[in-house]
Structures are given as structure tokens and as C-alpha cells.
Subunit: 196 residues, 2 copies
Amino acid sequence: MQKTLEFFFDYTSPYSYLASTQVEAVCARAGAKLSWRPFLLGAVFKSAGNASPSVVPLKARHMLKDLHDWTRHYGLPDIALPPAFPMNSMKPDRLGLVADEQGKIAAFTHAVYRAVFVLGRDASEDEVLGALLAEVGLDPMAAFARAASPEIKEKLRANTDDASRRGAFGAPTFFVDETDMYVGNDRLAFVERALK
Amino acid sequence: MQKTLEFFFDYTSPYSYLASTQVEAVCARAGAKLSWRPFLLGAVFKSAGNASPSVVPLKARHMLKDLHDWTRHYGLPDIALPPAFPMNSMKPDRLGLVADEQGKIAAFTHAVYRAVFVLGRDASEDEVLGALLAEVGLDPMAAFARAASPEIKEKLRANTDDASRRGAFGAPTFFVDETDMYVGNDRLAFVERALK
């Protein structure tokens, strides 16, 4: 039976960005279904009593080096952290769910991550987000309006609570068939093994 | 020119245990020199303002699952955390340095890790440590006496300070040729790439 990979991510998380460049290929190789699930990482941290690695200065410093090791490994452009890092991700997260309603969450996610972690832009800004929505063929005004609706707000809360309830404490978090949890871009090889 | 891998580890760290099962093969494949450097993880955490992942309950719970994923990946026996986990590692760390003086640090380290993470024993206890020393051909009484000497105490402090000074915030921590730092058993593939 076909397995499902749930990919919980947040647009402010650089390791989620790294994973986003691989998850489609992982699922294609494994013949698995991919479910893109934006969630609010800040709320996940809070609910778990966890904190961003970047609150420890030596970790923050090393994170940049480690991200370079990964982009080199994956053959991606160098990481460029936005000046506003960590960025408020509420708006792009909600817009991700709007894009999902239009079957465009993969394209929108790749566009946001490229803007944030390759071009170093601040995707909490409407101007940046509007251009990204247009880039993937979504109507910016309609998308912003939909993102402010109670349904979308509730959907983001539901994704976040769903992940927390199942034990998430950071991002990216993966679930294979609901219960088998993997944490971190660096566990994608295990995810792929579990999907096969 | 031959490269050197410094492997900073602590006998209470399960991810250091995982790495310890691989580092010799990594260095052999890369033609690199391996330097086993026990350090006091608690002091490294403190100096970095960091804490053990196990202080976050959801992380601690997931860590066990993740360790099983790794032992399966490496073909190792199941992890059995000792009842006293996290264990006070001062004594085994110092004895590791004594074993190093006798050219037996690899054998002693494998023996300690097997006792702790396969058999679930408490390697802060003299009885357990005495048996492990004897197992690798060291005289337990002489080794305990040497471990209590100012030279060995100072050596452990020096290893710990050396790693902290270069940016370590957890274990295992690897340095390739002094300055190129990698953190975590899950970065061994990057370590091997850097050694080649």
C-alpha cells in the first residue's frame, strides 16, 4: 500500500528549506505520497518547552557553517540568511495553506525558500510575498484576503497542534504513515528507508 | 599530506557511542590519523550555555527512537540506556586518558560503550570500570591510581577547554585538521568527505 510522508515545515527554518529541496525526489523514489504541512515553529517550540538552536551563540555560529556543508552536499547555492532572521513566519505559513488550496504549495514553497535563503529577502513583508505569489501564478490580493480568513488561520493552528500532539519539538518534522516520526533534514535517508 | 581527525567524546553520550563504532573505519577509508579525545560533556554544555537535549521531555522521548533508527542503520545491538542515565562520566573519562597512555584507548572506549549502551551498566561505578580495565589488559589498581593523578585530571580539563575554545557545544564533536568542526554522529559523512 502507498505510504504517506507528512512534511511539517516553517518558512523561517533553514533546515526545513534544505529538506524542501529533497522531499519530492525522496517520495518519487519511494513511490510515496507527499503532504506539505506548514506549521508555526515558534508555537511548536513553546509547546515542547524547546527553543531555537540559535539562542546558543556557539550553535548559531556553527549553524551557518553546517548549512554551507549541506548546500554544498546538495549542490544548492550558498545560504544567505535574511537580515531579519529568524523571521516572523505567520504570513508566509498562512499563504502556504492558501497556495495548497490552489494546488500550488510546492511551487510557492520553493519560491519562498529561494527568496529567503538564497536571496536573503524578508518573506514576512507583503511586498516580497506579493511578488512570490504572482511568480507562481496566484492572485496576490485574493491570496492575502484568503490568508486572513478564519478558515486559514484555523488550518495553520490545526497543523501546528497536530504536530505538537504527535511529539514534534522542532522543524522539519516528518511522519511516515501518521506515527513514525523523524526530526531534521539530516534524517531524510531514514525517512526514505521507512517509505520503501 | 595526511589529515587528522580529532574525535571529542564523552562516555555518557549515546551519539558519541554511535560515532565511536564508525570513526576507525572512516579514518581508514580516508587514510587519516585518528585522535581519541575524551572530554567532559557537562563542562562543555555549561561553557557554551547549552544543555543536554534530554532536558526537553519530547526530545528525550524521541531520542530513544532515533537511537534505535541509528543502531539499526549501523547494524548494532539495540540501545539499552543505563538506569543512571545521564551518568557521571568523570571517572571513565579520566580512565580513557590513562588507557590512551598505554595505547589502549580504542579498546577501552569500545568496552565502556558496550557496557553502558548495550548492556545498560553504570560505568561511573568502580566495580564496572575495574572489570572493563581488566578486560582490555590494563591493571585496574594502577589505572585507578593514575586516573587520580594531577596530570590526568589536568589532561581531561585541557581536552575539555580545548574543544570549548574552538567552539564545541555538544558531543560528539569532530575537528578535521584543527579548525574544521563537525557536530554529531550524523555528520560523519561530511567528516569523511573533509578527510579525503
